[in-house]
Amino acid sequence: MNDYENILLHRLKWTYLLLVVLTLMTPVIYVMYISFNANGFGANEYAFTLEFYGLIFSDELLIGALRWTLMLAVVVTLIAIPMALLAAKYYKAADNKLFPVFLLLAPLFVPPDILGSALLVFFKNLNLTFVWLGDQLGMSLFDSWFRLSFLTATIGLIIYTIPYSFVVILITMGRYHPEQTEAARACGANGWRAFWDIEFPQIRAGVFSACAFTVILVFNEYTRTSLLKGGFDTFTTVLISQMLNTGMSGQSYAMSALVSFVAIAAIGSIIIFTMLRAETLSRVARAKAEPVMS
């Protein structure tokens, strides 16, 4: 708050901010609330229980769905982040920036249903082509390459997440001065060493944020995963199928709440750690800041 700001206006701004956060978080909080109710969703009477949390690990459908989604998240992150990082590095060095940025962000402007359906048709045709190729060669080696599977879902999710990762990394990279890479080269470092020792530590926050963002996007994605994975056996597809068909089970609420708890705790810890570190660094800098001679 600056010296000239009205105190009431200042409080109003904070109230508004808290209301926005509350509005965004209310559905999540409500899911958490239901997950502790022994009588489940819509019951007149609320009876606190932790029973559903205990049941999560015996629900094979949920654990299987979580396992698939985690595997997708890990594989997609491991592939998409290096690709996004390379793309961001190329973009920074490119003379003409308009064309690469258009290419990289284009998937963002295609509605998910259309992109998912297009990929579905593409993979089906590709699969038919590979099967035909196998038939011509008299072998069945290629038959399952592009059948709807973990691989096709991974490709679809990489296409989906790369633009977001690219933007997140590029924002952090914007603050990096390429003279530092040249200085490292002038000190005898080769290209990789200059990147790893000098550039990466400075863009690490962006890369890790992009990783976190990719994991969240994979957990969140329904359309592409349901169309391209087949089997409706990932975390979101299982929850939505349950909701549409039989209604969510108590342990499904508990699992949703648990994932939200973990995500909030992880992000909260990062924020608190960053704030504490910034405070420590600033205290150290203040302590060192005795007058210096030029």
């Binding site: 003279e179 530092q180 040249e182 200085a183 080269r185 000190c187 470092a189 400075q202 210096v292 030029s294």
Partner: protein, 366 residues
């Protein structure tokens, strides 16, 4: 194995094109080992491109670069016997001063105790021994540039390239750092190649200066010759404060020529240049060599070493005062003197004569 007799840097017929734009055109320059060499010129002239090409950050379009007698055109920056000091932002912000200075040694795989010993010595050379644990953002601009210097000299490379290393510093600090750079170069004895657009900086540090403009190496020589006896008209217009006069040769008499300038006939040493009667030429004369003659302003000059005009104004510049005089053809001439503004100066528009010694005026044909 470096050739001990070969020059530290030998640039041969070097050209660098960016599409249609010619950044460097057929540049030839030789820099001796242990020399402090300055590439001076206006912004966008190609001096940084030349320096970065020597350092391996640009690939030449044509021509060759030899460092210590060895062709290095195919080598990346980390494989050349050079290191570089940049204008700014080149310190590694996540590392302390010690880590910054020791980085190249760490990359080279030196043992920790050796790295520590060499880093301490390098920091002592640049007077930063008490700042070892600071991060770059905790240092002043001058200190940051000294860390860059320490990081460069600690590597014991033969050639140090400096790309406008003082441009981001304030005027006083720049002056101090100029002398420090010169003394450091004398102490370490390696070849310094320094890019600047600041002529005072160039004069302070250079053994030799190369003037680069529009992608061409205009002139190369020691600092005194470049200042006092420029060969080319461009050099005269860029270095020092020269009065540039345009005129036509009216007579050629053995070793001198008579040039018509704004109605006056000026006698100028021919300097062995090929000039013909009627040829358009340029004359240069440094402003500090021009004196105001208040008494004879109305007399038509016939001595060949003076010209008349009308007094315009005086500009007080602290150490010196510049008197501005307008010639009949509209050219402005400056007479610079070490004196405060004199109350006895003529009114604006009063006729006045400007004089100089015959050895101070120079003829240029290009």
């Amino acid at each position: 194995m470096p050739d001990q007799k070969a020059p530290a840097v030998d640039v041969r017929n070097l050209s660098k094109h960016y599409g249609d734009f010619v950044a460097l055109h057929d540049v030839n320059v030789t820099i001796a080992a242990g020399e402090y060499f300055v590439l001076l010129g206006p912004s966008g002239g190609g001096k940084t491109t030349l320096l970065r090409t020597i350092g391996g950050f640009h690939k030449p379009t044509k021509g060759e670069i030899l460092l210590n007698g060895r062709s290095v055109g195919h080598l990346p920056p980390d494989k050349r016997p050079t290191t570089m000091v940049f204008q700014a932002y080149a310190l590694f912000p996540h590392m302390t001063v010690t880590q910054n200075v020791g980085y190249g040694l760490k990359v080279a795989g030196l043992p920790k105790d050796k790295v520590s010993e060499k880093v301490d010595y390098a920091l002592e050379q640049v007077g930063l021994s008490q700042f070892t644990h600071r991060k770059p953002h905790e240092l002043s601009g001058g200190q940051q540039q000294r860390v860059q210097l320490a990081r460069a000299i600690v590597l014991d490379r033969d050639i140090l390239l400096l790309d406008e290393p003082l441009a981001a510093l304030d005027a006083q600090l720049r002056k101090d750092m100029c002398l420090e750079l010169k003394h450091l170069q004398e102490k370490v004895g390696i070849t310094f190649v320094h890019v600047t657009h600041n002529q005072e900086e160039a004069m302070t540090v250079a053994d030799r200066i190369a003037l680069i403009a529009n992608g061409n190496l205009v002139e190369c020589g020691n600092a005194r010759d470049i200042y006092r006896a420029p060969e080319k008209a461009f050099t005269a217009s860029f270095v020092g404060e020269n009065n540039m006069l345009s005129g036509k040769v009216s007579a050629v008499n053995g070793t001198s020529v008579i040039v018509d300038v704004a109605g006056s006939k000026l006698t100028v040493d021919k300097r062995g240049l090929a000039v013909n009667e009627g040829q358009e030429v340029k004359l240069s004369i440094r402003s500090e060599c021009v004196a105001l003659d208040l008494v004879n302003g109305t007399h038509a000059p016939s001595d060949g070493i003076s010209i008349t005009g009308s007094f315009d104004e005086s500009v007080y510049l602290g150490l010196t005062t510049s008197h501005l005089v307008r010639l009949p053809d509209g050219t402005e001439m400056v007479s610079r003197v070490i004196a405060d503004v004199d109350d006895s100066l003529p009114e604006a528009g009063a006729p006045i004569r400007l004089t100089w010694k015959s050895s101070d005026i120079r003829l240029h044909v290009d």
